[in-house]
Amino acid sequence: MSDPHTPMIAQIAQAPAQGMITLRGALSARKIAAAARAVAGVAMPGPLECRFDGARGIGWMSPDEALILLPRQDVAEALASLQKALVGVHATVVDVSDARAVFRVTGPHAREVLAKLSPADLSPAAFGPGAMRRTRLAQVPVAIWAEGDGAFSLICFRSVAVYVGALLAEAAQPGGAVGYFPSGA
């Protein structure tokens, strides 16, 4: 059991009701990039990047898949406008808001908490602000992105959200800092 007087080395919070739309198609195609930009408010990110402007953004998931993040209440409208913009284009858009859970990891050792659970290179040099990577967290697939100021977000399938929440909480127990990365990096 954790000592209530010793703080956790990172704060874990499950984000409430994040809106998510999966867009599949040739991401560099002009029409697809323009449609994504119109609903997300940011340009299509390059490989292994994510871009945000306030509550909206796009994450690069694979050479032909992008994840558009936006407030939950705006999903229906965005989906309709994407489908309208992509008529005749070889692309698919799906509302995946209910399929995934979003966690936010903040605090001085947020990077270490994630690095302890994943085989990915999460060093500050390799995984700076704006970087996104799909990888493995213990036994389940996740996508992690670095928001800057030492905060990270990750998505996992909702069916394993309880498992991921418990994993992160365990890795963030007081005294769990490894000291491999500088604090707050």
């Binding site: 490989p47 694979s62 290179d121 493995r136």
Partner: protein, 109 residues
């Protein structure tokens, strides 16, 4: 530990992020093939001590299949290349020849 760089997304993926797919460059035997050829296609696989061409999937990542050339003894990785390649690219063959002079690809199985 085996680390392969996915040729599609560029991530240096750990072995545990990948799903193995067995020997690469198999020629598919369809319904018209004779039994011996079909049996070979289904079951006969190389198990070399040394250079091996393999299929891998970046399962905990971009999800794409790719090919890798590596040494099964030393775990040296000669390179990875897209799964759409019918033959290993010259750069891969040169990397292998640098370690094993005179190496020649045996061709599709």
């Amino acid at each position: 530990m085996l680390i392969l760089t996915c040729p599609y997304c560029g991530v240096a993926a750990d072995e545990t992020e990948l799903a193995p797919g067995g020997q690469a460059h198999l020629t598919r035997q369809g319904p018209g093939a004779d039994s011996a050829a079909f049996e070979a296609y289904l079951f006969h696989r190389k198990n070399p001590k040394g250079v091996h061409f393999e299929r891998w999937r970046h399962a905990h990542g971009c999800g794409k299949w790719f090919h890798a050339a590596r040494d099964t003894v030393t775990l040296q990785v000669f390179g990875t290349y897209p799964a759409q390649s019918l033959t290993p690219p010259d750069t891969i063959l040169k990397a292998i020849a640098a370690t094993y002079p005179g190496f020649e690809w045996e061709g599709e199985a």
